[in-house]
Symmetry: C2
Subunit: 409 residues, 2 copies
C-alpha cells in the first residue's frame, strides 16, 4: 500500500499553473447570443464614440439657455418653435435667439442649442412655447462620447461573459465575437460496483452518480464532454480507456479508484501512459484528500474520489479552478454570499476543510447550516445551496461568525 | 397625451397573479443532463431506501464490537479473517465470535457485524488481524435508508433544478424527468431610429440593443424565443406584428414606444387587439416607470421602456418575476449578495428605486458602488455586477449600510 504524499491545495494549483500555463486552447468566432459563459480572447474596444451625436435625455425643447434666464411660472420666457428633431433622422436647423426645436427622448439636439427644457416645464401655444423654468447649460443633454469614447476598452480580454455584456456588445455593433473553444473533457467512471443509473440495483451495486454530477458541473463551467466511459476495476481496461480519452480531450477526469485500497490502480496507470505522469497524489483538503493530479502527453488527468460529495468538492476546488483560471486564463471569480454561521465546529486536521451548507433566510439574514450525513450523499446533493471553506490555518468556526458561501447553481 | 395611472410594483404582480394563475404551461420529459434551469412538475420521491444495504464508510474490517472491548496498542485484540466483501457483490458470511471480514469503503457489511474497524487501527498477520483500538457499536457503518428513506420527497415540485440536483436524481436512478416546457416568448423592438446591431450608424440611429439584452436574459430565465421583429413606429405594422406574436407565444415583450411621447401607440394597439387589453400603464419603479402590462387572448404582453438600462430593470423586476413565480410557479429565489454601501443617496420619489452597482472586494467585504451616467448605457451594461432596490417606503441609503445585491449572471 502506497501512502499519500499530501500537498497543500495552493501548492497543487501552483504545480498545475507551471505545467499548463502555456497550454493553448484554440479560439472560435460565435454569435453573441451564444456567448454567455464563454471567455473572450481579446479586449473589446469601441470603434466609435457613444453617442455619436448630442442626444436629449428628455422629451422637450432644445433652446439656448441664455434665452431662459430669469423665467418663472408667473413670468415665462416665450420662444418660437422652428422645427422638430425626428427620431432616426439628423437635424440641420441652426437656432437663432428665442427659437426652440422639439426633441423627443434620445433625439438629436441641434448643434447650437445648449440645453433641453423638459416638456413638463413648457406650455404650447400654436408655434410658440412658454417656458417657466430656466435651463442650465448642457442640462438634459448627453455629449458625444459621454458614454464610451472611441478606442476605450469596454470588456477586458479573458472575461467570462455574463448576460448584461450581451447588451453592451450589441450597443457597440458587435454581433460575433472571438472566444476560447470549450475545453474538451473526458469522464471515466471506474469501480466494479458502479452500474448505469437506470439500473434496478442488485445488492452491492451503486449507480454511476459521479458521471452525471461531473457532467452537470462541467457544462456549467463551460466545457464540452466529448468522451464518457464506465468500466470495472481492471488495469488494462482503465489504461485503454484513459489512452483513448487523452487522445480526444484536453482534460480527463477519472472518478473512483483513487483511495488507498485494494483497487488503487489509477496512479500506476497514469505513470505508465506517459511522462511526467502523476504530479500529485493526495491533497490536504477534506473531503477530497485522495485526489490525483497528473499530466500525460501534455493533457491534464485528475483522479477524483468516488464518494459523490467528495467528488463534487474536489471538482470545485481543484478541477474547476484549473479549467477557469489556468486553461481559460480568466479571473472573474463568482461572487460569494455572506452568511452567519448557524453552527460551531472545531477542526484541526491540517487540511482545508469544506462543508456543504444550506442557507435559510431569517430576518433578512442568511444563516448557514451544515448538511451532515457520513454517507448521506443524496441528502447532501439535493439540499445544499453551496459550500464553505475552513482554511487549514483556522481551527474552526464560531457560531454567528460571518462565512463566505460559494453557491451551487 | 394620456397621463400614467401609476401602480405599485406589488399591485402589478398581484394583478398578474390574478389574471394568469391558471395559465397552463405544458410539460415535457427530458434527460436530466438537459434539465438545469428547468422547473419540475412533480415532487421527486425516492422509490427505494438509500443505501439499500449496510455500507462501510471506511476501508477496514467488519467485526463484532464486543470482541474489541478493552484492546489497545499494547494489548491488541486478535481476530481471524474469514473473508472479503467485494465491491459490487453481496456477502453471505455469518461472523462467529473473534472473526472479521475485510470490507472496502462503500462495501457491504455482513449482517451480524456491528462495527467497522479502520485499516489504520489494524495489523495484518497472514489470516489474522491485530486490532489496537476498540470499536463502538455501528461505528463507520451507514444503515439502510440512513441517507434517504423509501417514499421520501427528495426535491419538491416547482423547484428550478440546479447543478447539484443532477447528482441526486442520478443517485435515485432517474435519468428522465418531467419539466414545464420553456415559456415561448416574442420580442418586438419598435422605433423609427432602431437599426440592426451590425449597421454602421447614420446620424440619429440607435442599434437594437434591447432585443439582445432581452434575449440573453430570457435564455437565462429558461425561456425560448420563438418570434423576433424590429419595426418602425407605425400603428398598423406594430399591430400586425403583435397579433402574429400573440398567436405564437405565451408572453410578448415590446420594447420602446412605451414612454408618454409623440409615438406612444403600444397601449392603444394592445387595447385594440383584444380584451381585457392594458391592465397597467405606469409602474412606480425607477427606472422603468412607463412599463405597460397587458393581457390579450389570454397571453401576457409587456411594453418595456426603450432605454436599455430601464428595459433591463423592468424585465428583471416585473417580467422575470412574472415568468418565474406566476407562469412557472416556482419560488426558489436567487440568493442575494450582502454588500456595504460605498455611497449615500437620498430618494423620495414614491417609487421603488433601482441602482445598477459594481461590487469591489476590499478586506474581504464587498463594497457596492452605483454606476452612474444619465444615458451611459454601455458603461452601465458592461460594468454592473447587479442591482439594488430602495423600496418606496425608504428614503435613501446611508454610507456603509448593508445592501442586498441581486446579481447579474
Amino acid at each position: 500500500m502506497e501512502m499519500f504524499n499530501v500537498k497543500k491545495r495552493i501548492e497543487v494549483l501552483d504545480i498545475l499553473k507551471n505545467e499548463f500555463e502555456n497550454f493553448e486552447i484554440k479560439s472560435e468566432i460565435i454569435d453573441i447570443l451564444d456567448s454567455i459563459g464563454r471567455v473572450i480572447v481579446n479586449d473589446i474596444v469601441s470603434k466609435e464614440n457613444v453617442p455619436e451625436f448630442r442626444r436629449s435625455t428628455v422629451d422637450g425643447y432644445a433652446v439656448k439657455s441664455k434665452n431662459t434666464v430669469g423665467c418663472s411660472e408667473s413670468l415665462p420666457a416665450f420662444l418660437s418653435i422652428v422645427g422638430e428633431s425626428k427620431m432616426g433622422e439628423g437635424i440641420d436647423i441652426v437656432l437663432e435667439d428665442f427659437q426652440a426645436v422639439y426633441v423627443p427622448t434620445g433625439g438629436i439636439v441641434p448643434d447650437n442649442a445648449d440645453a433641453m427644457v423638459m416638456i413638463e416645464y413648457t406650455e404650447k401655444f400654436d408655434d410658440e412655447i412658454a417656458i417657466n423654468k430656466p435651463a442650465a447649460v448642457l442640462e438634459n443633454i448627453v455629449g458625444i462620447g459621454d458614454d464610451v469614447k472611441i478606442n476605450e476598452i469596454i470588456i477586458e480580454r479573458h472575461t467570462k461573459l455574463k448576460t448584461q455584456h450581451i447588451g453592451a456588445l450589441a450597443a457597440l455593433g458587435i454581433n460575433k465575437i472571438q472566444v476560447y473553444q470549450k475545453p474538451k473533457i473526458g469522464i471515466i467512471s471506474t469501480g466494479d460496483e458502479i452500474v448505469p443509473i437506470e439500473t434496478d440495483l442488485k445488492i452491492g451495486q451503486i449507480r454511476d452518480i459521479n458521471t452525471f454530477s461531473l457532467a452537470a458541473m462541467l457544462n456549467e463551467t463551460g466545457c464540452e464532454i466529448v468522451y464518457k466511459d464506465r468500466i470495472k476495476d481492471d488495469f488494462k481496461l482503465i489504461k485503454k480507456s484513459l489512452e483513448k480519452a487523452i487522445d480526444l480531450c484536453d482534460v480527463v477526469l477519472i472518478s473512483g479508484g483513487s483511495s488507498v485500497g485494494n483497487h488503487d490502480m489509477t496512479p500506476e496507470i497514469i505513470n505508465k501512459i506517459g511522462d511526467p505522469g502523476v504530479l500529485v497524489h493526495g491533497i490536504a483538503i477534506k473531503p477530497g484528500k485522495p485526489t490525483i493530479v497528473g499530466k500525460v502527453e501534455n493533457k491534464a488527468v485528475f483522479g477524483l474520489p468516488g464518494h459523490p460529495a467528495s467528488c463534487i468538492i474536489s471538482y470545485k476546488v481543484i478541477v474547476e479552478e484549473f479549467i477557469n483560471n489556468i486553461l481559460l486564463k480568466h479571473n472573474n471569480k463568482d461572487k460569494q454570499i455572506v452568511a452567519k454561521s448557524g453552527f460551531q465546529v472545531h477542526v484541526s486536521s491540517g487540511r482545508d476543510v469544506f462543508y456543504m451548507v444550506k442557507l435559510n433566510e431569517i430576518d433578512g439574514e442568511y444563516i448557514a447550516q451544515p448538511i451532515h450525513g457520513k454517507s448521506g450523499m443524496i441528502s447532501l446533493l439535493s439540499k445544499a445551496d453551496g459550500y464553505i471553506e475552513i482554511p487549514m490555518e483556522k481551527e474552526g468556526i464560531e457560531k454567528d461568525a460571518l462565512l463566505k458561501v460559494n453557491l451551487f447553481r
